[in-house]
């Protein structure tokens, strides 16, 4: 591939504390999703499919798993001569000590030297924890066509929910005229997706200035974008249409998984022209036993189903024993449901064992039950 003139930086520092124990050992972008994926597979596959060669992944929180996961750039084909996925953590520098990233903009600022190595014309800033398919090359086309200084991807949200988002108010030509963070009275329903394209030269200058500003939060939404608007720069909104999900809570993560059970789920993971790449595990295809009773499920290699499994999403290497029942649930990688156990409306974290005869979750619960520790059997 000819050197892409756009380099991507994925902000993957998310603590994701509303996902509770799911993120006690892994950063949110490394959380499992959709049977065989991790959330960060989406932005990384989008980059690979958009022809972006070099991706920096910015992380500071409990990054061992995320680090070793994304470092194998071969998963997304990003391991050729001049391409790569690089994990960038805070570093000790000659002139300063070791600092955490203080904000989204600071995370980029602290890695200016990395970006300079590649000398890109454009910088794409992404969040590592959203599920969607998007062609960033088309977004760059829009950026170039408009001659913009920055382009921000926006998602139309229901007007009544708009006050929960950062809202972009645009003029008739799609120019952003105002940015409001969670406005009480939203003027538009275009929510920022946290996806930015900047012309790098200009952004670099702004970041250097921002780093020196003691009053700045070093955040794109709070500081950089308002400053650019104040300076009269040309910022445009790039409207995204399609499936997009921020899986910030257990309920929304469960829901995003259950979406996959619909034939027309909008995400279409089977689209051969825009594959989502992920780790390949050495496991047999899914095995369904002679006495299994399955209906409306999403399964993948390594699954061994011998019991009743209905309306559920089962991840790699999950086991449902004979006589067990799994309904309306999401079982993350390696979950074992032993004989006679009953799992209903639950999201079971990776590796958890539900012992013989145990009952977890209930068909009547309002919220989805997160099961993150082994559940003892009832003998």
């Amino acid at each position: 591939m000819k050197h892409s003139n756009m380099l991507a930086m994925i902000l993957a520092g998310g603590r994701g504390s509303r996902l509770h124990e799911l993120t006690s050992k892994v950063a949110k972008p490394a959380v499992s999703y959709g049977g065989k994926y991790r959330i960060i597979d989406f932005p990384l596959s989008n980059c690979a499919n958009s022809g972006i060669d070099v991706v920096g992944v910015l992380t500071q929180y409990e990054s061992v798993l995320l680090n070793s996961y994304v470092a194998a750039g071969s998963r997304w084909g990003l391991d050729t001569k001049d391409s790569g996925v690089f994990v960038l953590t805070p570093r000790e520098k000659a002139e300063s000590g070791l600092d955490v990233y203080r904000g989204t903009a600071d995370a980029i600022s602290q890695n200016i030297d990395f970006i300079d190595q590649y000398n890109p014309d454009y910088l794409l800033v992404l969040s590592g924890d959203h599920i969607y398919k998007m062609n960033y090359a088309k977004m760059l086309d829009a950026h170039l066509k408009a001659g913009a200084d920055a382009t921000i991807a926006v998602l139309p949200v229901p007007m009544k929910e708009a006050s929960r988002f950062g809202i972009m108010n645009t003029d008739a030509d799609g120019n952003i005229v105002e940015f409001e963070e969670k406005p009480a009275k939203p003027k538009s329903n275009l929510a920022s997706m946290g996806i930015y394209i900047f012309s790098w030269k200009n952004l670099r200058k702004m970041l250097v200035a921002d780093m020196k500003d003691p009053n700045s939060d070093h955040d794109f939404g709070k500081n950089i974008i308002p400053t650019m608007l104040g300076e009269g720069k040309k910022l445009i909104a790039y409207k995204f249409e399609g499936y997009w999900k921020d899986v910030g809570t257990i309920d929304s993560l469960w829901e995003a998984n259950m979406d996959l059970l619909n034939k027309q789920n909008g995400l279409d993971l089977d689209d051969r022209s825009w594959r989502i790449y992920t780790e390949d595990v050495s496991a047999l295809p899914a095995y369904i036993g002679p006495n299994a009773d399955v209906d409306r499920i999403y399964i993948t290699q390594g699954c061994v189903l011998e019991g009743e499994v209905k309306n559920s999403v089962l991840f790699t290497n999950t086991v449902v024993a004979e006589g067990a029942s799994v309904v309306d649930s999401v079982l993350m990688p390696g979950v074992k449901v032993e004989e006679g156990a009953v799992v209903t409306r639950a999201l079971v974290a990776g590796g958890v064992k539900i012992g013989k005869g145990a009952v977890v979750g209930s068909p009547d619960s309002e919220n989805i039950l997160l099961v993150s520790k082994n559940v003892k059997g009832v003998e």
Binding site: G34, G35, K36, S74, L260, L261, K263, L269, D270, R275, I276, Y277, T278, D280, S282, L284, P285, A286, Y287, I288, G289, P290, N291, A292, V294, D295, R296, I297, Y298, I299, T300, Q301, V304
Partner: protein, 373 residues
């Protein structure tokens, strides 16, 4: 560096798998949904710490070249190890010349460049698990010139008829290597697998060609057994073993591995079978579908009934379709209401209009690649 070099041979002439073999060699056959047959011998080598491997390709090299690539999926370090694909000057006009010996002679320059002291030779059409680090150790300890793997079967009268058999004396010495004439149920099937010094191997290849232009290595060694010049020792293999020699044995091996007890003797956590990923998404099983006693690969959409079958990647099975006792290869489609039993459906086929396809377990049906029925 390991002391041994690995060789996976090209499909021998005696292997004749109806239909499947029309456009790919036996090593490239899809197996159990996500594997190809050659994944088994190559995983045996890399799991045994052997990372310098030659794979001989004869007719139809494309599919295996694609599948094998540079061998990264098998954990072959691209710097310290090497998966080398070697092509043969296939004689299109008289099959009798296309022997393994002829493959080796076509590539003698690359055999001569081997640094390792020993070679481990495996066929591309047999499925088994074997730690060759152990075999090599045993070979060296025993002082044998050649060690050969064999597997004892009790159905040699009507199975393994295109394999060779060995007779082994009480000291594990091989006293004969000959065709399986089906004259006895209890047989020791030769697994086309050898361990010997590289120099002896090269000598035998040269000697075979001098003796006859159509001689294979096995024929040469059979002669050596008779002449008792060499110390040839048998090592009995235990665990799962299948030889894919014809369509029936391909079908039988696929179906018998649906028994998880049998499968566990081939697949285990400490012996990963590596293969190339195709980045398929998971499989969707829709409302009203039924699946029993089957292996279902990723990327499928299943609305009908699947029983006692192996389903490849990206297969679509329509509403009210019934797929029973069948092997459906990747990207095929079984339309709504179609009823099939004892079928092998090759890749990209679409069975839409023919609503009933029923064969017998001892003579399974075959649907050709990309055919529309």
């Amino acid at each position: 560096m390991a002391r041994a070099f690995g060789i996976v041979t090209s499909t021998p002439r005696r292997v004749n798998v109806y239909g499947l073999q029309d456009c790919r060699p036996a090593g490239a056959f899809s197996f159990l949904g996500r594997y190809r047959v050659i994944d088994f011998p190559i995983s045996n080598l890399t799991n045994s710490g052997i990372e310098n491997i030659q794979v001989y390709l004869n007719k139809f090299p494309r599919s295996l070249t694609d599948h094998l690539g540079t061998g990264r999926q098998y954990n072959i370090n691209s710097k310290n190890g090497r998966l080398q694909l070697l092509f043969c000057n296939h004689n299109n006009h008289n099959e009798v010349y296309n022997t393994d010996v002829s493959d080796y002679l076509d590539n003698m320059d690359y055999l001569n460049l081997i640094d390792q002291e020993y070679v481990v030779i495996q066929p591309c059409y047999m499925i088994f698990k074997q730690d060759f680090a152990d075999i090599l150790e045993e070979h060296i300890q025993s002082g044998a010139d050649i060690s050969m793997l064999y597997h004892k079967v009790n159905n040699g009268r009507d199975h393994f008829l295109s394999c060779r058999v060995v007779t082994v004396d009480k000291d594990q010495k091989i006293t004969s290597l000959s065709e399986n004439r089906g004259n006895r149920a209890s047989q020791s099937i030769f697994m086309d697998s050898y361990v010997m010094k590289k120099d002896l191997f090269v000598d035998l290849v040269r000697k075979a060609r001098e003796y006859s232009s159509t001689f294979s290595l096995a024929q040469m060694i059979s002669k050596e057994c008779e002449e008792q010049n060499l110390n040839i020792r048998g090592i009995q293999h235990k665990g799962y073993f299948a030889a894919i020699c014809d369509l029936q044995s391909y079908y039988d091996a696929s179906i018998e591995l649906l028994d998880m007890k049998v499968a566990r003797s081939l697949f285990s956590d400490d012996w990963p079978i590596y293969t190339r990923t195709t980045d398929s998404c998971p499989t969707q099983v829709f409302e009203g579908a039924n699946i029993y006693h089957s292996l279902v690969s990723d990327g499928c959409e299943i609305e009908g009934t699947v029983a006692n079958s192996v389903i490849g990647r990206g297969v679509k099975i329509g509403r009210d379709a019934v797929v029973k006792n069948s092997v459906v290869l990747s990207y095929s489609e079984i339309g709504p209401g179609v009823h099939m039993e004892y079928q092998i459906v090759d890749k990209w086929a679409k069975v839409l209009k023919t609503k009933e396809l029923i064969a017998r377990p001892d003579d399974p049906g075959y649907v050709k690649t990309a055919d529309r029925l």
